[in-house]
């Protein structure tokens, strides 16, 4: 019952599948495309671990069906480092202890990628407000907030990247 064709562009690559209409976008990414970087925590839209970009905007992939993404461009955490080169934000997470167990990290990165795109000079309050949609049970958020502010500075070019000349 309820099989449906869907074609989704994920991290620049087009995938066509016939799936159950009730398959969430999160399960589609993880089980159909084996892109397991997108994590599933609560599966009802609270924890934010499954956050991806749909046409450039963050969305909880557990609250979308794969068939709804038909014709859309999706970016997952794998898309942030396509050739293995970490993004500025990802490097800032490492440098600022922005993760411990790492479960929430993919969602955090997608949320903050959108924020830094929209708001190149975010205040700490902007960052904290953006992060209210993502739960972390390890860090107490301090390292994540520091990483976001650090990445924003690096992206504006005001601070040299560690290790660069």
């Amino acid at each position: 019952m309820g099989k449906q064709a869907t074609r989704v562009m994920v991290n620049g690559k087009s995938y066509a599948r016939v799936v159950d209409a009730r398959l969430t976008l999160a399960d589609f990414l993880r089980h159909e495309l084996n892109l397991t970087g997108t994590h599933l925590g609560c599966e009802h839209g609270v924890c934010g671990a499954c956050t991806v970009l749909v046409d450039g905007r963050t969305a909880r992939s557990c609250l979308m069906f794969a068939v709804q993404a038909n014709g859309c461009a999706v970016t997952t955490v794998e898309g942030l480092a396509p050739d293995g080169q970490l993004s500025v934000l990802q490097q800032a997470f490492i440098d600022n202890h922005g993760l411990q167990c790492g479960f929430c990290t993919p969602g955090m990165l997608m949320t903050l990628t959108e924020l830094l795109g929209d708001t190149p000079e975010p205040s700490e309050q902007d960052v904290r407000e953006a992060l209210t949609g993502n739960l972390c049970r390890c860090t107490g958020y301090a390292g994540i907030v520091a990483a976001a502010l650090d990445a924003a500075q690096r992206l504006r070019g005001t601070v040299a990247k560690p290790g660069s000349p």
Binding site: G2, Q4, D20, H44, G45, A59, L63, M64, T132
Partner: protein, 303 residues
Amino acid sequence: MDRRVEPGGDDVGPMKPAPFEYHAPRQLKDAAELLARLPNAKLLAGGQSLVPMMNFRYVIVDHLIDLGGLDELRGTAVVDGALRIGAMTRQRDLEFSPEVARQCPLLAEALRHVGHRQTRNRGTMGGSLAHADPAAELPAVCAAYDATVHALSVRGIRQIAFREFCTGFMATALAPDEMIAAVDLPIWRLGHGHGFHEFARRQGDFAIAGAAALLDVGADNVVRRAALTLFGVAASPLRVEAAEAQLAGKPLDAAAIRAAAAAAWLIAPISDIHAGGEYRRHLAQVLSARALNDAARRAGVEA
């Protein structure tokens, strides 16, 4: 989730919601026709409330009609002195719309409290109204503006005054074959003041209680028109008519605001696991005063 094999040996993989047929109409009339014809069907707007309920299997449908492809239901326009908002307009687009900020600033301010950025990117105006959560911000804004809901079906379009739209706890006046096409928010005179305050345990959570205020104050400092709305305290948004009557036609000052906010004591709020009725009544008064103070200041009165 582990892969699951259903009776009959069909390997269905990881699935949270019960099975359904998916429909993605491209024309509004097709959507109305599907809704009228299909048994046990539900409309999918932004899915930020419906899909969690489907994942929990609180909601089990045979047919899901996705309104996402209906461009006719998206966008805003000023029609007859009101801001008309298409039902499928995303909350995010309203939040960042200069037109909304100018015409209906109370809506712009309320949107910042609706869920999170990630949910506002998907969530829609019409979806919030149809869901009618008693603690939701957008129904409260519609109550404040005396909005008109345009309900569409194969039988045509029917206009519903918002005060008749919410009929009880998460229940609306929509007939089973009707969908929200748009909502009209009457635009208040330029220079009016607005205020919006809510109390929630965490930013983005549903409010335990909230208050929305609109004040139109004349050059003589006399209140020409006032609207005070509470939400999260009853089955649906509540207009505090006693407070509005106290304010209208009188000079606006700190004492007038205190007296109007005190009228919020008259309500008999709900009690639940989040807060008791007495606490909600206290919040209603405090938040009413804050919302009215903001509205007065924005209307150019230092009360």
